[in-house]
Amino acid sequence: MSAQVSSNASTSRAPDNHGLRLAVRYLVLVLIAIIFIFPLIFMIMSSLKPDGQLLSDTRSLAAFLPVGDISFDNYVDAFKRAPVLLFVTNSVIVTGVTVVLSLVVCSIAGFAFVFIDWRGRELMLTLLLATLIVPFETIAIPLLLIASKLPWIGAEGLTFGWLNSYQVQIVPFVVDGLTVYLFIQYFKDLPGELIEAARVEGATWWQVYRRIVMPLAGPVVATAAILKFLAMYNQYLWPLMVVQEETYRPVMVGLQYFFQLNRAWGEIMAYLSLITVPVLAFYLVLQRAFIASIASTGVKG
């Protein structure tokens, strides 16, 4: 009987306890969230403040609030200090073209690896997977030498040396082992009967690729596009070495401008916000796709 009572008492107290535990859980989650978000909030808020206030605000929570003398002056001044629009255009061109070319070339390659029998396929696949363990940093220096000698046919006819151009930022990154691998993994899971049926009916490989396989490839295209976009837009080491001329300079390398003469933190924050907020907005809208794309590199790896 007494046991009955005590057990009743404990169940009646349970919701309370449960509520407290839930509160603690959320508290932990929120505290960690603050750690991840505060530098970004600080960046955006600071970009709206004049330098003097920006610095004095760091002593209090005002650093994270839009208080005091708020304006877009820093943005205006940042545009005066450096050809910001040019850098943004360059980055958009380089990133956009690379992503599109990469999707086309890598998906075709993935298709050929999965569905078509050709001599040397196994060997090439092994080679392709082997490139996954070669970090870009280990080939950057010899690649610099190669890029400085490669021929190009453009408006001025045949020229040698790719330094200071768009192609030097684009062509080396069109194909990478990971993107091809993602397509291979995805195509492997497609129903093979579909492709066989089309072949029996006399469709060419090209038709099979365009009419049957690619229309089904939405998820992997999104994954590959997001990963490539992040890698290209955030590139630093390579453009630093191969682009000295302003004309082709991308946003990350353009940052150098803000550190040359006097250091105006407000303008730096404005520039950082300008090149980061669009990406963050893009991420927040497509949040699930972004996270799924990172996750998909893990599951099968």
Binding site: F42, V105, V134, E137, A140, T276
Partner: protein
Amino acid sequence: MAGPAIFLIGLFVVVPFLFAIGLSFTDQRLVTPNPTQFVGASNYNQLLGLNLLPLEPERDAAGQIVRDEAGAAKYPAVRSFTRKNPDYPQYDGMREWFSVGVGDTQWVVLARDVVFMTALVNTFIFVLVVAPLQGGLALGLALLINQKLRGINVFRAIYFMPVVVSIVVVSLLWRFIYDGNSGLLNNLLKSLTFGAFPSVEWLGQPETALGAIIVMSVWQAVGFHMVIWLSGLQTISPTLYEAASIEGASKWQVFRYVTWPGLRNTAVLVLVVITMQAFGLFSQIDVMTKGGPLDSTQTIVFQAVQRGYGKQDISGGSTISVILFVLVLSISLIQRWLTREKR
């Protein structure tokens, strides 16, 4: 149909990789009127050359060790051995890296390139700290995010946010956080300790600079590996958890006997990926410290770029690249071996 892809990956990955190996045995420069020459292993020797110099304390005419007032023995200058001393050609041009005293003898480790040795050590420290720290924190976050709570996706989105921000932007931002005067970190520590905490120039001191960069790097990338852990967690069958709860397993037991074994492959992947990324440490250094102060944040890739690009010494940069590749490869092989399936 795979032709274009194979051509491009061949030209821009395989060929440069083979070039790196080939060029590391030459004196190739980016722009030079002179023909390239084969120089054997001399690039490797220039970077990795080490030697041991036992320094005997100076003795007076009676054979007694000369000591100063504090009783410390007096040693001849290392310089007298390494600067054009015809008796010791093997030490010529080397510099003291560090020394260890054993008895009266001072063993001086000489290096051909002390800065590169420092870069190697710093990179190893970075990798050895970041790999477990970032992997562990990412797992913790993944377990936290894997709870069934209302609004959990919002937290997942926030934790992942720094991943989509360029490391260059993050580095600049954190320069401000670490600033000695108006830095946010100093101000935070000050207000937490009611002004007792003295201002620290986090990136300006050899003792704190690398640590500061480690903390920032983990902050930026931990969300990436959290997501990989999460996808691993979601492959574990819920029936295993049900069985464990029926058996009355504690939370720790559930983690130890259900979750962790189910994450085995993910763990290997996370470890290998973090290690590979950590060995490539460059942008943070270039934006925040340029290798300083006092070479305390020199890294292998920063050295490679300084040589290959800064000094246009392609062969020297390629040699460092090859050394880096050998390190990355051997570490991943060791990791794979250590985490192999035990039968």
